[in-house]
């Protein structure tokens, strides 16, 4: 953590990231502290919960609560390697069949035993839910024994394990679902590290330890360590920070970047920062002028001074982007991020050369849509000023986020600045943003070579092989510039001294079962 503290104030963010990146996998696997048992952790969260029904499309904070309550068959850390969860092991006898061996002796916190029947029931819920479409290739789920399951698919389903590790594939108590009906989102019952003691979505979510959780730490000690976790909704950042300083809360879930230096200065408080999987970036509409010309896109790419933006707009807490793969990712090319094509500093000469190549030597005019969040507005203004240096005259069109998303979804923009939280699995990122017709490919980018690489990566056998293919695709993407990646936001959290076991993976997931007091 101290390492990360220092990082916060390092001027050279890339250097900091390299340091930060080296140790986190080890930290995940082996919590480096002798955990004390007991105690309560009070977390201040910045928004109300909506629902904890895992089968609905719920918010990021809701999902974070859900991973502390419910287990999945497969677990999946920031390393993107599927690991056993409620499924102890699996095999694939043929291309279209998966066999799972389920963990025995597990019960849901209402006492309902976890067995193959329960999993069959949950598959039904999952497929009825908002995310059911992800599992459309499944043709049957059959309990072959009390703790054995066979899943058959209509075609190859290489990402099944990844999908089964998502929160929308959580295992819940069939009895509790039946009893709760529509109210399940208020009181989800699973087999996870904690269970709900009380839940008032606009105020507080209180979880208590699930004494019978199956998971152990590296020393074989039962987790979780904490007796209780209180998620208290504190919508005002200022009072949330004050609550941390008075010790009313132990953990600030989201620390606004401008407050980070002040918080870090407090002797009782540790600030934790880690690059996330997400980006702050520009969408180009690749199907219409001027950005149907790759050189126009590259001109913008080169004209942006990422370091200046990180310093000025993100208070030094972000990282200049080097391409779609972020330093948080297992696929990140540490030796040569993004192939070194995009430097932290602007390259006006290169930008002008690209403009000339696009036949736009005198620059051009365009409108840039952006959400009116203060941080993104400041970023849009910085980009506007930087593009003006090379003759690209930008008119800003700030809209409330709802309006921005409407434009985005209708592909009704020339250039649009936005951010997103990222996904651990690069397959989901690449498929969605860069593949022809992908779900997030709102700029209508298409490149057959890149499509082929994306497909190849999905089929690759090992993590190393996948990473290599994604890095190759990244090089081509940076050259083709369907987006202009600007910076990688940091996940900023603040906690009181005396809280151990917290590791910031930059994946917006607080794993309370790893945390202990003292």
């Amino acid at each position: 953590m101290t390492r990360l503290d220092r990082r916060l104030f390092l001027k050279s963010a890339t250097a900091g990231v390299a340091v930060a990146g080296s140790g986190w996998l080890a930290a995940l696997r082996h919590p480096a502290h002798a955990a004390t048992r007991g105690g309560t952790l009070v977390i201040g969260v910045p928004e109300s919960f909506s629902s904890l029904d895992p089968f609905r499309r719920i918010g990021r904070l809701d999902y974070n609560a859900v991973i502390n309550l419910l287990d999945t068959l497969v677990t999946y850390g920031p390393d993107a390697i599927p690991a056993p969860g409620l499924a102890e092991s699996w095999e694939r006898p043929d291309e279209l069949t998966w066999r799972f061996r389920l963990r025995e002796g597990v019960s849901f916190s209402d006492g309902t035993p976890f067995d193959a029947e329960a999993v069959v029931f949950c598959f039904g819920k999952i497929r009825e839910g908002n995310f059911g479409g992800q599992f459309a290739r499944i043709t049957s789920v059959v309990a072959t024994a009390s703790h054995a399951l066979e899943v058959r698919t209509s075609e190859r389903f290489p990402t099944l394990l990844v999908e089964l590790a998502q929160q929308y594939a959580s295992m819940v108590s069939p009895a509790a679902v039946a009893a709760a009906g529509d109210g399940f989102g208020r009181m989800p019952v699973g087999s996870g590290p904690f269970r709900i003691e009380s839940f008032d979505p606009g105020r507080e979510l209180v979880m208590v330890r699930n004494e019978g959780w199956w998971r152990r730490d590296a020393e074989g000690v039962a987790m979780p360590y904490l007796d209780r976790v209180v998620w208290r909704v504190l919508p005002d950042a200022e009072t949330a920070a004050l609550s941390l300083s008075t010790g009313e809360i132990d953990f600030l879930y989201a620390l606004p970047a401008p407050m980070a230096p002040m918080m870090a200065a407090s002797p009782d408080i540790t600030v934790s920062a880690a690059p996330t999987f997400g980006w702050e970036y520009l969408f180009f509409h690749c199907g219409q002028p001027p950005f149907d010309n790759v050189h126009a896109r590259r001109a913008v790419q080169f004209a942006i001074d990422r370091q200046a933006i990180v310093d000025a707009v993100s208070f030094g807490t972000g990282t200049p982007a080097s391409g779609p793969i972020t330093p948080a990712s297992w696929a990140f090319n540490r030796a040569n991020p993004g192939g070194g094509l995009i430097a932290p500093r602007a390259n006006p000469a290169a930008a002008k050369a690209e403009l000339a190549a696009a036949g736009l030597a005198d620059g051009f005019e365009m409108t840039m849509i952006h959400p009116t969040f203060p941080h993104l507005t400041a970023m849009a203004q910085a980009v506007q000023a930087q593009l003006a240096e090379v003759g690209i005259r930008v008119t800003l069109d700030g809209k409330e986020i709802g309006g921005v998303l409407d434009h985005l979804f209708a592909s009704n923009f020339t250039c649009l600045l936005i951010d997103w939280g990222g996904r651990i699995d690069e397959a989901l990122v690449f498929n969605s943003f860069f593949r022809t017709g992908g779900g997030n490919n709102f700029g209508k980018f298409n490149d057959a070579e890149i499509d082929a690489l994306i497909d190849a990566a999905a089929a690759a056998a090992t993590v190393e092989e996948r990473a290599r293919i994604y890095q190759e695709a990244e090089l081509k993407l940076v050259a083709a510039s369907p987006l202009a990646w600007i910076s990688i936001p940091s996940e900023l959290r603040a906690l009181r001294k005396g809280i151990s076991g917290f590791v910031n993976h930059g994946d917006y997931r607080l794993r309370a079962w790893q945390i202990s007091r003292g």
Partner: protein, 331 residues
């Protein structure tokens, strides 16, 4: 006056007045319902897209979510369904959580009402003595001091007052928690501790408004002929002020009190946010931001209903305070 026949007549007149009120209420409700429905949909932003932002954008997921929320139906259909349900007392379900809107509102009402009532009481406790004192010494330094205090209360943004109180009571003296809410039923002392600063914040603002109102009204009333009559009778000055002037000043004061009560309902958003009170204001803002239409619609309706009730309460207070109004209503 007093005879049986006229009492019966008066009863009938009252019943007629009540029926007219109920009809007005129904018209107001349907009007509010329609305006809110249309306004919400005129604002850009799709509830399904906003929830989760760009995190899950799979078209199939979105289509399913939209169907579940009933957003795949036509606007007219959505409107009629909602209106129909509303008439039967069903405000629908939250798009995001699927929880009945009524549940959300019922949960958010107690903190808001408690906050509003506490703030109004504080405002009254501040404004009656100060307003009267200022009026009695109109033009004196004391009056000037009170007026400055009142204007500070009115013009200081609530968040500044709130943070000032927090620094003082929570950070400096550690007497009260910075923020958070506990229900009175769960922990009465904790509830009062949690509500003290928010109520004081709103109470100071509303107190400022009410002090000005009370001062002005008492000054006006003290110039009235009946006050001179009371003095001519040899009534002591304190009795002249409280028994005569203040009692009459209470009539315009109650009007402002009613307005302030309305402000408490919807205008407490900032205070509720700063102090993390899960009340109606926050329910409204959270769900406007999320475009959770049914929740916003339901909340606005309930707030409108409470406004109407507050107005009825103010009218009731008029009747209580002013015999001329009582006479007028029965006529």
């Amino acid at each position: 006056m007093g005879s049986g026949a006229s009492r019966q007549e008066r009863g009938q007149a009252l019943a007629r007045a009540a029926a007219r009120r109920l009809f007005d209420l129904a018209v107001v409700m349907v009007g509010v319902a329609t305006v809110v429905f249309l306004l919400l949909r005129a604002v850009p932003g799709d509830p399904v897209l906003i929830l989760g932002g760009l995190d899950t954008l799979d078209r199939d997921v979105i289509a399913r979510a939209r169907a579940e929320m009933g957003l795949d139906r036509s606007l007219v259909e959505q409107y009629l369904i909602w209106l129909g349900n509303m008439v039967s007392g069903d405000l629908g379900r939250s798009l995001r959580s699927g929880v009945p809107v009524t549940d959300l509102i019922l949960r958010a009402m107690p903190p808001t009402f408690q906050l509003g009532i506490m703030a109004l009481v504080i405002g009254m406790v501040i404004s009656v003595p100060l307003g009267v004192a200022a009026a009695r010494r109109a033009g004196s330094p004391a009056d000037l001091g009170i007026t400055v205090f009142a204007i500070l209360g009115i013009s200081t943004p609530p968040f500044v007052i709130a943070l000032g109180l927090v620094y003082l009571f929570a950070v400096e003296f550690r007497l009260l928690p910075v923020a958070g809410y506990v229900a009175f039923a769960d922990d009465p002392a904790g509830n009062l501790r949690a509500m003290a600063m928010p109520a004081l914040t709103l109470g100071l603002v509303t107190g400022g408004v009410l002090v000005r109102m009370m001062r002005r009204s008492v000054i006006d009333e003290l110039g009235e002929d009946y006050v001179r009559t009371a003095r001519a009778k040899g009534v002591g000055e304190t009795a002249v002020v409280y028994r005569h002037a203040v009692r009459n000043a209470a009539i315009p004061y109650v009007t402002i009190l009613g307005l302030e009560a309305g402000v408490m309902l919807s205008g407490a958003v900032i205070t509720e946010t700063i102090f993390a009170i899960p009340g109606l204001g926050r329910l409204m803002i959270d769900n406007i931001n999320a475009r959770d239409y049914p929740v916003v619609q339901g909340t606005v309706l309930v707030v409108a209903l409470v406004y109407v009730l507050i107005n009825a309460g103010v009218d009731g207070m008029y009747r209580l305070l002013d015999p001329r109004v009582r006479a007028g209503a029965a006529r």
